[in-house]
Amino acid sequence: MADKARILFTGLNSAFFNMGLDEAILESVAAGSCPPTLRFYGWTPSAISLGYFQGIHEEVDTQACREKGVDIVRRITGGGAVFHDTEVTYSIVIPEGHRLAPDSITDSYAILCAGIVEGLAILGVGSEFVPINDIVSAGRKISGNAQTRKKGCLLQHGTILLDVDVEKMFSLLMVPKEKAKGKLIEDVKARVGSLSAILGRPVGFTETASALEEGFVSALGLDPVREEPKEEELALAHRLAEEKFSRSWWVHKR
């Protein structure tokens, strides 16, 4: 039998609000006031999100970000730095102990990433889950995912690239000294894929998010109800954006 799930499409928002809303949804699901929740969203302005354990000055050219109007936010999840530009981002929150949130982090990545693989198949893109947390199409990474467990809930969020500007990405990220920037850009171009490049046509946010919704519902066996975030969630998201995710003590934590 399918499990009830709330589906949210929350549009394009700032990095700080986006991370605030993911955490606010986790609070709602943890409190039992909402069922498992799947959310699709985008970022404006463009932003770099850092993994919880990354050192900001080791990963990001903060001055270049300032000059180009790119926000920097630290996630509550581990993983690597992500340049959020032309992409669809999703988050999913499920209580621990639910059949979709087993104890093993590795197993739960595989279970939840099946939704992305199925969504990409609906778009005509063959892909596979590659542990620990990537989805690869024809040898190229097309989606990265990160997960945490808090307050008795699993939160996983991740991105699916619609298009990628590798040069811009590397103007914002720190490049290891031992690698020549040009060589690194070529390496990354060979290793990173986008839906538009794979399908040979522009692929938009709505088309992709809808296919992913269908993919998650089918692969995870969900009984979906499209809703809007609750007022309390929005209020908490704004508060977390203001008091945590945009603050130096959090962003510069490491």
């Binding site: 993994g51 354990f53 990354q54 993983g79 982090i105």
Partner: protein
């Protein structure tokens, strides 16, 4: 002596390690403090600082074992990082690798 090292040991994510060691630096050195950054996962994330702190006073040669013991004691699940990887990265530095 302070050592800065980084690497992506097999089965791990990118790990960046800063560590203060007693002189002379070697596997018998005591860790004064250690800071680990990188792409790895540790849940709960907030517990990782306590794990780092618990490694102060540990000999480099014991780091792999103590890291895993302390992670278990603190209830921290890790992915993409291991005590053995940290110990190898630091010891690799002694051997000029």
């Amino acid at each position: 002596m302070r050592i800065e090292t980084m690497g992506k040991p097999e089965g791990c994510k990118l790990l960046r390690v800063s560590v203060e060691l007693s002189d002379p630096a070697g596997s018998d050195s005591l860790i004064g403090w250690i800071s680990v950054r990188g792409d790895f996962f540790a849940v709960p994330e907030e517990g990782f600082e306590a794990l780092e702190k618990s490694l102060s006073g540990v000999r480099v040669r014991d780091l792999a074992e103590v890291f895993e013991t302390q992670a278990r004691k603190l209830g921290i699940k890790t992915l993409g990082i291991s005590g053995q990887a940290l110990q190898s990265l630091i010891e690799g530095n002694f051997h000029g690798r």
